[in-house]
Structures are given as structure tokens and as C-alpha cells.
Symmetry: C2
Subunit: 317 residues, 2 copies
């Protein structure tokens, strides 16, 4: 299907640096507009260049401040940076994000920086579907780095690993985070650990806990050994450890490209995405009969495996 001339113009405008057109394009993608598909198909040939960094950790570890510090460091090196702040927290705890964003307004007037908050609106599935498209938009718009910052513990952290080329987990002393991170399965997915607020007591204890837990994992020959960096991200020039974080992020990027891991991760990411899209489409198509089948299974009149087969059989008609 040919795109309307209007949409093309809007796309060109967004991709050539018009911040308001870019914001509108992201809204379109975030809202799951019918035009999204067309837009994604159009910008696809211009994607694949951006480096996607996931930054995650529990509330209170200083993610937004660290993101701001990293944006500053990347900008000082002349790189264009986009930040996607994804908030999958429940309605019970919503609203914190906007306050966090305000802390990053020192970059608000810099055209080399684009910051976007995506809220889940209580629908994690929709957010998961929209985020890869938002990344494609920012990639096509020429941002060399896209930082995805997520709030929360558990699902979000593990999900981010399927979207980012590099996953950095932020911890802080005094929050019992190392243990929580282990329980949530985050330790297995991180390429880099940043112990932030390292001017606080117990920093070395967090580092030791992390080292002990990492010692249980194995690194294959030629594999990447996650490093642990202590840092104090601030809103001023007194940052500590941020330069080292940038150095290790760059080292990981070099390793990703030289080892073939980048291609492997991106294929895996595409595989997850298209499988999820296929399943979502299937779910939409079978909605009507699933309720009836479910009622029969709940009543003990139909076994669940038979019900599953009927769902798939219906699909073939």
C-alpha cells in the first residue's frame, strides 16, 4: 500500500531533525495507530545504526540522574542521544516519572538530545509492543545512542534485555538490591553493574555481594565478563565514575560487534518481537470462541489440551 504524500512528508520532517514532528511520530507509534505499520515499513531501511543501551534498577537508585550524567558525557563527545523512559509501574505508584524527567531538563535546549517518557497506562503488553517501534523511529532519526531507562524490579528488567544491545543494572547501597536483583533474575542479563551513590556507607558490601553472586556464573572463552563500577552521579560537574561507565559501555559495544554477539542479539530481539506480534494477532482472532472453550474447561467438561487444539484448528479455517 502506498503511503499518502502527507505521511511521507511528516516522516521526512521527523527524520531530518524536526523535534515536534518526531514527537508526533512517537505518539502515533505509542498509541498503536493504524498508520504505525506503514510508518515502520517506511523507516525500516534507515534503521540498524543506533546503539541501544538499557539502564534499569530499583526505585531510588538514581537512574534518572545517571541517565542525565551519561547524556552529558555522550554529548561532550559530540554524539546525538535519545532517551526513552519506560514506566511499567502499576497505577499505585505512577506519577513519579514526570518528576524524574524534570531533573534532566538541563538538556532540554540541546538539539542533540531527545527525551521521551512512555507510560504503560496499566497495559504492560501495549508498552512492550510499542517500545521496539519507538526505538526504530529514534534509530531512523539518526540518534547514535538510544538509552532505554526503565523503572521497577522484575519483569521490566528482564524484558529490557530483549530490546537493548547492552544492559546496565544500577544498584545503590542500603536497598538490599543485590539480593533483590538476584531473585528477579536480573543478574543473568546484565552486561554492566553500576553501584551508584557510592559515597554512602555499605558501598563495598554491595560490591562484595555482587562479586560473590557473579562468581557463581561462568564466562565462556571470548565471552563478556560483566564489570562492576562504583559511581556517584550528580546533577553537576562532581560526577564520579561516569567516565568509567562510558568507557565500559564503549568496550561492550566493541565486543558486541567483534564477537558477532550484536547480530545474535538483534536476531533474537527480532524473533521475540515477531513471535509476540503473531501471538497477539492470533489472540485477537480467536477471542470469541476462547471464552466458550474456557468455560467448558473450568467446568471439567473439556480438557485444556483439547481446547488449545480447537483454538488452533479454528485458526486454519
Amino acid at each position: 500500500m502506498a503511503s499518502p504524500a502527507h505521511a511521507r512528508t511528516e516522516l521526512d520532517r521527523a527524520l531530518s531533525g524536526d523535534v515536534r514532528a518526531l514527537a508526533r511520530l512517537l505518539s502515533l507509534v505509542e498509541d498503536g495507530s493504524p498508520r504505525m505499520r506503514e510508518v515502520v515499513a517506511d523507516l525500516l531501511p534507515r534503521t540498524g545504526q543506533a546503539r541501544i543501551i538499557g539502564l534499569t534498577g530499583a526505585p531510588g537508585v538514581g537512574k534518572s540522574t545517571m541517565t542525565g550524567a551519561l547524556v552529558g558525557a555522550f554529548r561532550a563527545a559530540g554524539r546525538r542521544v535519545a532517551v526513552l523512559a519506560v514506566d511499567p509501574t502499576s497505577p499505585f505508584t505512577g506519577g513519579a516519572l514526570l518528576g524524574d524527567r524534570i531533573r534532566m531538563q538541563e538538556h532540554a535546549t540541546d538539539e542533540g538530545v531527545f527525551i521521551r517518557s512512555m507510560a504503560s497506562r496499566g497495559h504492560l503488553g501495549g508498552l512492550a509492543a510499542a517500545t521496539p517501534q519507538a526505538i526504530r523511529v529514534l534509530d531512523a532519526a539518526g540518534f547514535e545512542l538510544v538509552i532505554i531507562e526503565t523503572v521497577g524490579v522484575g519483569q521490566a528488567e528482564v524484558a529490557i534485555a530483549s530490546l537493548a544491545d547492552t544492559v546496565a543494572v544500577l544498584l545503590a547501597p542500603g536497598l538490599g538490591d543485590a539480593i533483590q536483583a538476584a531473585k528477579a533474575g536480573i543478574l543473568e542479563v546484565a552486561d554492566l553493574y553500576i553501584v551508584n551513590k557510592a559515597d554512602k556507607p555499605d558501598t563495598q558490601q554491595v560490591v562484595r555481594d555482587l562479586r560473590n553472586m557473579l562468581a557463581l556464573g561462568t564466562t565462556e572463552p571470548g565471552g563478556w565478563k560483566p564489570s562492576i563500577i562504583t559511581a556517584v552521579a550528580t546533577r553537576g560537574p562532581r560526577d564520579e565514575g561516569v567516565a568509567e561507565v562510558v568507557t565500559r559501555l564503549d568496550a561492550h559495544w566493541d565486543w558486541l560487534r567483534s564477537s558477532g554477539e550484536l547480530q545474535r542479539r538483534r536476531h533474537a530481539r527480532a524473533r521475540e518481537e515477531i513471535t509476540a506480534l503473531a501471538f497477539a494477532a492470533l489472540r485477537d482472532r480467536v477471542t470469541k470462541s476462547v471464552d466458550e472453550l474456557a468455560a467448558r474447561v473450568a467446568d471439567g467438561a473439556l480438557d485444556p489440551f483439547q481446547a488449545a487444539e480447537e483454538i488452533l484448528a479454528e485458526q486454519k479455517d
Copy 2:
């Protein structure tokens, strides 16, 4: 398909109180044996009577001790109880469960109690598929109560809600659990909050935090208002609050049946289960071409929506 006579005999034995036959049946279900389907179909008419209670919370809150105390209280009332302890933690933290189980050995010689640990072996998806079948086995074997105890924070807690009729969340002072529970989205799914280890300082602070967070939620007219109970579960006769927990669990069960919510939850549970089974079957069938499609998407040569359509189209052939 008719079941072999041997399998029927084994099933009858398990369902009539032979503990070793029951354990073998659960192993068969847990391992995803090809015979599982047949077994589930055979026992299905005998299911639907058991009351499923989910008990969940972060490591260290005393879940196993509370489970043991509840088993004792239910046994004192003459009820047969089964416990399914599901451990979805990562390989990094595995091994704790066995130690926990040992604490419940006071019930080891009681024929009215059956305790089974299910480990994820690093494969959460397999565990999620096996647990509903294990519940059916215990239900058909005549246990009036099935307690599902899960370890961890996040995914597991939210997943349990789709399996249990009643979800109880356990917290303890000093672990920052109320906040963590809120972030993980657990608060929305709980029917009952138990603040365990209530002889410790900060108990009232946890209760206040919980109350404040719950005050943000809304209860529909005729709906269930989750209660907060303080308790001290021990391994001896000095339990505090356990009787009140039992009273509230019973009250919730009465409400579930009188409000129609029980049927609604069980339909929703069956719906989740059969959809997941259908998706798993679909995933198996399309594995071959998905890799090729994913590579083309990763290379920017095919858009993900088109790829998803091709997966579903292949399904129709």
C-alpha cells in the same frame, strides 16, 4: 483415546490415597510426559472441588513457617491439605527450598497432608504449564485445600493470581517489602495481606504503608476489601494471628462463592491456560521459519508486522 489399563490402575491408586502413586503421577505431570494429557483428561471429571490458596512474598518473610502453621490449623479442623511449593528463582539462588521444606516435616507422617516441591530448573515456562495440571491431580485426589507457595518477587507473584482462588501476600518488617510489592504490581492481586514476624520493630510502619497504598485502590459495592493481618508464625504452639488468617481465608472463600467471583476467576484461569497452551503449540510448529523471518527483520529487509503475518499464514497451510 482409551487409556491403557495400567495407567488407569495407577491413577485410581493415586486418587484413592496411595501417596507414592500420587507422587509418581505428579512427576509425570511435572516432566511434561506424553502420558500427561491422557491422565489429565481422565481425572478432569473429578476436579473442581478443591480450594486453591496462593501464598507468596519475598524471601525471608517466613512463607514456609506460615504455610506449616496454616497446614496445622486446617488439619486441626479435619481438612485434608496439599502444599505445592513452586520455586521459580534463578539458578543463582536455587537450593534454598529444600531447607525450607525440612521445617515442615512435623506434617511428614500425617496422611491428610501432602507436600510437594516443584523446581523450575531454570525453565519458568515449563513450570507455569505444569502447575495447573499438578493442581488438578491434587484436586482429583480429594484434597480440600491446595496451598501454592511461591518464592520470589515479581513475575511469580503476579502469575500465581491466575492459578489461585485466593491470593495471600506475606510481608515482614524491615525488608522494604510494601514498596517492593507495590512496584511489582502484587498489591493489585492480593486478597489478604499478612504482616508476619509482627513481634519485630517497624511492624506498625509496614501496616501503615500497606493501608496507605490500599487506600489508593477502590472497592466496588459488594466487592472484597483486602484485609491486613499481623501474625507471628512459629514452629510451635505460640503462633499469633494464624487463627485470624484462617478466618479471613474462609471469609474470602464464602465471598468467592456467593458473589459469583469464584466462577469468574476459574473461567479466567482456564482462559489463560488454554491460550498459553495454544500459543506454545503454535510456537513449536513455526520454529523453523521464524529464525529466517527474524534475520530479515533484524536486517531491516522485512517489517515485523509482515513477518508476524507470514508466521500465521504458514499456520494455515
